[in-house]
């Protein structure tokens, strides 16, 4: 690996000193694009050059752009959705630095007429990328009125909810652990609160949400199915502001402002649920001593040292606490800290260095006298990333970098006091290191053909110390080998090619194709039908191999009516290797030999995704439809025949409508319909020791009833012009009170023991909500 580092260093040095020969009479235009009111940098704003030259640039995650052009006069237009386009004529006679400040277009109820690039979705070579507008997140109706990024994402084609009210999601046949969820570059391991009903992302703190369903650029790696890249707000650089909301379940507050005006800013955003505040009023101490809440805290600060150097520090701390007085305690949560340094080596070489810490842990306490114990489990990452962006010419934009992640997984430390019958046990920690390097080029081949292609070389090594076991096919231990600290137990090296191309058929239509290979070295063990905070992560080892996915996708993209409507149709096929399932009767809790109970197999997923969106106007919204299949093949399961994975849904339809009825009222509605989950039902029964036992013949061979639901919401904005701006949000979840199946159970009928019966449990019927939001 050091060889790769040395090579990269060499490339960096070369690039920062030499200029390509073709650029002799070419100059670089570079700078930042920011919001006029808050000074927040804008991600993904487009800078276009008019005239014969097909050129331009898009701002990166830090609002920086860089474009090359020959000597001459140009008309520039800078645009970003929801902002007024800036046009400017400029003479390029030397390398030029130019910052743009865009003014937010508040008249979203009017059709924005603009001739500039609102057709990024057509011309960009990037495939499988969906962006979620934070405004959309705030308008779409949600359970309990809690705005939620992950639940809004689930309304897009190819992205499916993992269950009723659940923030877990499946992307193109991937499981919930196959999504790489990044918050300011830090991986988040358990992105949900309260057993999945809320995501850990407080939408107040979020600036940009991008999700890659396929065709991930080479800078992303580590998970099979998708990348969800969430960027936090930097904080207002101009003035101090506060905003928040009071809801049925929780309240939120965000404070932001400049550290030094126009130089640096901070943002702190918090959220806490207060169900337990009601418990405290209970006269019965057995109730008032119970706890049940979660909180989130997002904090970020940035400071621009000079023209070429900016520092960012961001953190997330969230925790769920659940406790039953004197008998039981359970808490879990994530912490992430990201320190970043942006540096401009030259006006065409942008560098970002990130140092990231991420920790997920849970604690379970049993407080009863004779059985007391405490379980501590954690997964801790130290992550160093070096990324470069180099604007080679107006035809080539390069991205390259290195990444090293050190993982420590503590599966469980069991402690107890003297009077307890539980023994203290310390399960061995597992350490591993992931190293990766990548190179990616965005190439404008011709006016109509664009390419993003790249390579990612990734390695994983399981490190000592530890007693590493080997198992035979039946799960019996065949050997135990002791390793010392720092010794390499097992290493894997993988090459991940990525390519995505677009060919523009006309100014408003294109076809795109992509091939992607993704590798996953860390795996979530969950044999339950839902995710749980105690789900265990394991790494590759001598027994567990890296998961591999190869995906091909192709699609047709078309804008109508002056880009007012956007339509896309994509098909994909995905092959997956080294997928993991369990033998029946596997106990994942405190099991040092969990690898003995794993089974390995293949997966395949394919589907069609249709998407039609109206992007502007009084009324906007979208229709997303997915037809798909997700199957798995394992030697020891279902007699070695293909079976449907739990994330398989044949049909999945989402309708979203947002209507702005005037300056103050906004109405919105969501309708979802999907095929029921693939489940295993009995095909017979028998008796053991006088009790009824069910006989299963086919894994996931049945379907739960179809799921559908209609939600509505209304937002009333306060009168404009006041210092304190406030708004009310009203919502109704599941308007027609559909009794969707959360689980289906089989049991002896308690009223007639000679019969068995089937019961269906519904989690959420009709649920109204109200939230009051404010800003000053």
């Amino acid at each position: 690996m050091p060889k790769i580092l040395r090579f990269l260093l060499l490339v960096v040095v070369l690039l920062s000193f030499c200029k390509p020969s073709s650029a002799q009479n070419k100059f670089t235009l570079s700078g930042n694009v920011t919001d006029s009111e808050t000074g927040e940098t804008l991600i993904g704003a487009s800078i276009r050059l008019s005239g014969t030259l097909n050129g331009g640039a898009v701002t990166n995650s830090y609002g920086f752009y860089s474009a090359s052009m020959p000597l001459g006069d140009y008309e520039l237009s800078v645009s970003f959705i929801g902002y007024n386009t800036v046009r400017q004529t400029i003479s390029i006679t030397k390398d030029t630095k130019l910052n743009f400040i865009l003014i937010e277009d508040n008249k979203l109820d009017e059709v924005v007429i603009s001739a500039t690039k609102r057709d990024e979705n057509i011309s960009s070579a990037q495939m499988g990328l969906q962006k979620v507008n934070v405004r959309e997140i705030n308008s779409v109706p949600v359970l309990f009125g809690e705005r939620d990024v992950l639940k809004t994402l689930q309304l897009l084609p190819g992205i499916k909810s993992a269950g009723e009210g659940n923030s877990g999601f499946y992307v193109r046949g991937g499981a919930t652990d196959q999504n790489l969820i990044l918050l300011d570059e830090a991986p988040v391991y358990n992105a949900s609160h309260l057993l999945g009903f809320f995501s850990t992302f407080n939408s107040d703190a979020i600036k940009d949400v991008s999700v890659y369903k396929g065709g991930m650029p080479a800078q992303y790696g580590g998970r099979l199915a998708s990348v969800l890249d969430i960027k936090m707000n930097d904080g207002n650089r101009k003035e101090y502001t506060a905003e928040g909301g009071l809801g049925l379940i929780s309240s939120r507050l965000k404070v932001e402002g400049p550290i030094v005006k126009d130089k640096g800013s901070f943002m702190v955003s918090g959220r806490r649920t207060y169900l337990d505040a009601f418990l405290a009023f209970a006269p019965d101490s057995a109730i008032s001593n119970n706890t049940l809440y979660f909180y989130d805290l997002n904090a970020k600060a940035n400071y621009q040292l000079d023209e070429k150097n900016t520092l960012f520090l961001s953190g997330y701390f969230g925790r769920d606490k659940l406790g039953i007085a004197d008998s039981f305690g359970f808490n879990w949560g994530n912490s992430t800290v990201t320190l970043r340094w942006n540096h401009l080596y030259s006006n065409r070489l942008f560098s970002n260095t990130s140092l990231i810490y991420s920790n997920y842990n849970y604690v379970i306490q049993n407080l009863s006298e004779d059985n007391n114990f405490e379980v501590n489990s954690s997964i801790k990452d130290f992550n160093l990333k070096q990324d470069f962006e180099y604007s080679l010419s107006n035809k080539h934009n390069l991205k390259f970098g290195v990444n090293a992640i050190h993982h420590t997984i503590a599966p469980g430390k069991l402690t107890s006091s003297g009077s307890s019958s539980v023994n203290q046990t310390n399960y061995e920690d597992r350490k591993g290191i992931e190293l990766a390097t990548y190179l990616s080029d965005e190439w404008t081949v011709t006016e109509t053909l664009n390419l993003v292609y790249g390579l990612r070389l990734s390695s994983f090594s399981l490190l000592g110390p530890g007693n590493i076991k080997s198992y035979d096919e039946d799960g019996n231990i065949t050997a135990t080998a002791p390793y010392k600290s720092g010794e390499f137990v097992k290493s894997y090296l993988n090459l991940e090619p990525r390519i995505s191309a677009s060919y523009q058929l006309s100014p408003s239509s294109s076809i795109k194709s992509a091939y992607t290979r993704n590798i996953q070295n860390i795996h979530l063990m969950s044999n339950s039908t839902s995710t749980s905070p105690t789900d265990l992560y394991i790494m590759n080892s001598n027994n567990v191999k890296p998961e591999i996915a190869d995906q091909i996708a192709t699609g047709y993209f078309r804008n109508f009516n002056d880009d007012k409507y956007e339509f896309s149709a994509e098909i994909y096929y995905k092959w997956m290797q080294n997928q993991i399932e369990y033998r029946s009767g596997t106990d994942l809790r405190g099991n040092a030999n969990v690898e003995a109970d794993l089974l390995y197999g293949d997966g395949r997923a394919y589907g069609l995704e249709l998407f039609l969106k109206k992007r502007f106007g009084k009324f906007n919204g979208w229709i997303g439809y997915t037809w798909s299949k997700t199957e798995r093949l394992f030697d020891g399961i279902n007699d070695g025949r293909w079976f449907y994975a739990k994330q398989d849904r044949t049909h999945d339809l989402s309708l979203v409508g947002i209507y702005k009825a005037g300056p103050r009222w906004t109405f919105s509605s969501v309708f979802v319909y999907n095929t029921g989950n693939a489940v295993t039902y009995p095909s017979g029964k028998y008796q053991i020791n006088g009790r009824t036992v069910f006989y299963y013949t086919e894994k996931n061979g049945y379907r739960t009833p179809a799921y559908h639901r209609l939600d509505v919401a209304a937002t009333l904005e306060g009168k404009p012009g006041k210092k304190l701006q406030s708004s009310w949000s009203f919502g109704i979840y599941n308007l027609y009170n559909r009794q969707n199946a959360f689980s289906i159970d089989f049991e002896d009928d308690p009223d007639d023991l000679t019969r068995t019966r089937v019961t269906q449990t519904t989690l959420f019927g009709i649920i109204p909500s109200v939230t009051w939001n404010f800003k000053f």
Binding site: D284, S584, S683, Y696, I744
Partner: protein
């Protein structure tokens, strides 16, 4: 105040997680061909040992023991003993009065309709049940009462236990545990069957069995299917120790028992 509070928590519980509701539904289920089920045990008590041989039947039929007749059932041990079972009623095969011994490996061979099903089980060392004690809990104002099974786990060797709880003579709970977390200790294992509806002087009875690892695994898997031990998992047939695809299990076990009377 109390009423207000009860209402408030009730409301919140209703609004939050417990808005759930249950209803009875009808499903069209496939009817699989009949499979062979063997439910066989061998205890350390000098008694008639029973093998129950049956076939699976359709889900919609009334619950019954669907006995399979005409099989030959033979028990052998690695100490050279051979015991033949005789069918006493359809599907019920009895041994003469015999006693299994700890440390001996037993093999049960069942021959039915030309197919042979074989399982082995080693009788573990015996651990005696010491006593039963009642324990009261209060979950969010809801009182519940459970029974603890007390015993001393032998240090060193892995041990697997099965608990059969009978309330007023009827089997209400059948659970297993292992000593992974409490090897060598005085153990008080709680059986999470709520006894708070019982009245004073009602009788409960716990049969405490020491079983081997495969049998433990079988019953653990069975309890997972029924939602025991955490969130529901995708169900599957528990791993049988019989060959040739038979369902069920053969367990050589030791047994001890305690009864208790519900206090106030």
């Amino acid at each position: 105040m109390r009423l207000t509070y009860t209402f408030l928590t009730g409301l919140f519980a209703a609004v939050l997680l417990l808005t759930s509701c249950e209803k009875i539904i009808t499903l069209e289920l496939d009817n699989a061909g009949a499979a062979v089920v063997i439910d066989a045990g061998l205890s350390d008590q000098g008694e008639i040992q029973v093998v129950r041989l049956s076939k699976t039947y359709d889900f919609t039929q009334p619950n019954k023991f669907n006995g399979a007749s005409g099989a030959t059932v033979v028990l052998t041990s690695n100490t050279g003993n051979v015991v033949n079972y005789t069918e006493v009623e359809p599907g019920i095969y009895n041994s003469p009065r015999i006693r299994g011994r700890s440390g001996v490996k037993y093999t049960l061979t069942v021959n039915l309709e030309g197919k042979t099903y074989i399982a082995t089980s080693t009788m573990p060392d015996k651990v005696h049940i010491d006593s039963l004690t009642f324990k009261d809990y209060n979950f969010f104002g809801e009182k519940s009462r459970f029974v603890d099974v007390n015993y001393l786990d032998p240090r060193g060797a892995p041990n697997y236990y099965r608990y059969i709880l009978r309330v007023k003579g009827k089997i209400e709970e059948d659970v297993v545990s292992e000593d992974r977390f409490n090897d060598g200790n005085e153990v008080a294992n709680t059986i999470f069957y709520d006894l708070s509806d019982l009245e004073r002087d009602d009788q409960i009875d716990v049969e405490f069995l020491c079983i081997d690892r495969n049998v433990y695994r079988y019953f653990y898997s069975l309890s997972q299917n029924m939602g025991g031990g955490g969130p529901p998992i995708a169900p599957s047939n528990p791993p049988s120790n019989f060959s040739n695809g038979a369902l069920g299990v053969f367990s050589a076990y030791t047994s001890s028992r305690r009864t208790a009377t519900i206090p106030d």
